[in-house]
């Protein structure tokens, strides 16, 4: 087979020498043209070193590039906006925190205000109750003054109903004292004894006493009423069991009180004219408040004229 092929080449060489030369020349020229084209394309940038065609942007590619550029710009803008929004969110969160703190503070203040309103409400109710009590006392004073005036105006009626009128008058005083049921206050008036210079004697009393109230004659020394008579000053013994107070501690006494308040019945300040002592007893110790003592003083002044006129008419006053 190879011999045949060699034989063919020999025949071909003998008969086609010119054709081979022509083929070589043609091939060489083609190579040179190709190299020229290659160099031209490389120099003009139409192909790269390896002879590959450089890509020229097509219309579609340009659109895509523009879109990409647009997207990139939008992305940058969005990123900037995101940063701004994050800052804004942070600021808002800070503001929210601040407002929450402010709200919490305001809530505390509001709670305090609500509590203060409740306290004020209670204070008002307390004040109103006291005002109510004062206006009631005013009415009792008015009725006392009315009864005193009626007694002075109608002497005969007074003489006939003396005990009853005084009981009524002194009950007005008792009714102004608070916690009547607990204190069980009782009032008695003593005047100078007509026969014993060292003693006082019964003159009048409020309701609630037994008949024995008329028997007791307090000594001028050693009794609460006697002390008020001597000093011509209000004498309050908040606890008669306390030895420091001047009080007549009688043996086998049936006393049912711990407090005693004695008020001199007197007129004038510089040269007081004392005519008796008004005493109020109360069941518990420390039975009387300052306002009650002041009311008792007022009532003592109110009934003074009636007692004075009565004693004067009976010749028991100088």
């Amino acid at each position: 087979m190879s011999e045949d092929l060699l034989h063919l080449f020999e025949i071909f060489d003998k008969n086609t020498g010119w054709f081979f030369d022509f083929l070589v020349i043609t091939f060489s020229i083609s190579i040179a043209i190709l190299i020229g084209i290659y160099l031209y394309r490389f120099a003009s940038g139409k192909s790269d070193l390896m002879g590959r065609k450089t890509e020229e942007p097509t219309q579609d590619n340009q659109v895509t590039l523009l879109q990409l550029e647009s997207c990139r710009k939008k992305n940058e803008e969005l990123e900037k906006k995101q940063v701004l929004l994050e800052q804004e969110v942070q600021e808002l969160l800070d503001l929210l925190k601040e407002k929450e703190q402010e709200l919490s503070k305001n809530a505390v203040n509001l709670m305090k205000a609500v509590q203060e309103v409740e306290i004020l409400k209670q204070l008002y109710e307390e004040l109103d109750a006291k005002y109510d009590d004062e206006t009631y006392t005013m009415s009792q004073i008015m009725y006392t003054a009315d009864e005193v005036a009626a007694a002075i105006a109608n002497e005969e009626r007074f003489k006939q109903n003396r005990d009853d009128i005084f009981m009524n008058l002194l009950d007005y005083l008792v009714n102004t004292l608070k916690n009547f049921r607990d204190k069980n206050p009782r009032v008695i008036i003593h005047v100078k004894h007509p026969n014993h210079p060292g003693k006082l004697t019964h003159y009048a009393h409020s309701s609630g006493h037994t008949h024995r109230v008329k028997i007791y004659e307090p000594p001028l020394y050693g009794s609460a009423a006697g002390r008020a008579w001597r000093t011509q000053e209000v004498y309050y013994a908040p606890d008669v069991e306390d030895q420091k107070y001047e009080y007549d501690r009688k043996e086998h006494s049936r006393k049912v009180y711990r407090s005693i308040l004695c008020i001199p019945l007197k007129a004038g300040v510089e040269h007081p004219n004392i005519i008796g002592v008004l005493s109020i007893t109360g069941t518990p110790a420390n039975a009387f408040e300052k306002i009650e003592i002041e009311r008792a003083l007022l009532f003592a002044s109110l009934i003074y004229p009636l007692i004075y006129i009565d004693l004067k008419q009976e010749g028991r006053l100088p």
Binding site: S139, N168, N175
Partner: protein, 64 residues
């Protein structure tokens, strides 16, 4: 001027008796004895106060 009417002595005695017997409370006794005397201004202020408190109570309680 019709409100200047004091209680007659008999009525005062009757009220006093009722109070001492415990048939009426001190509050009732006080109101009946006063019979409106010396109480106009107090009641007027109290009415104002009650109106104010009622107005406040109608509003919703604050929530915390």
């Amino acid at each position: 001027m019709g409100w200047f009417r004091t209680l007659p002595p008999e009525e005062r005695k009757r009220l006093n008796k009722l109070y001492r017997e415990g048939s009426i409370s001190r509050k009732q006794f006080m109101q009946k004895m006063k019979n409106g005397f010396f109480d106009h201004e107090r009641l007027a202020v109290k009415e104002k106060f009650t109106r104010l408190i009622q107005k406040r109570d109608w509003e919703e309680e604050p929530e915390f």
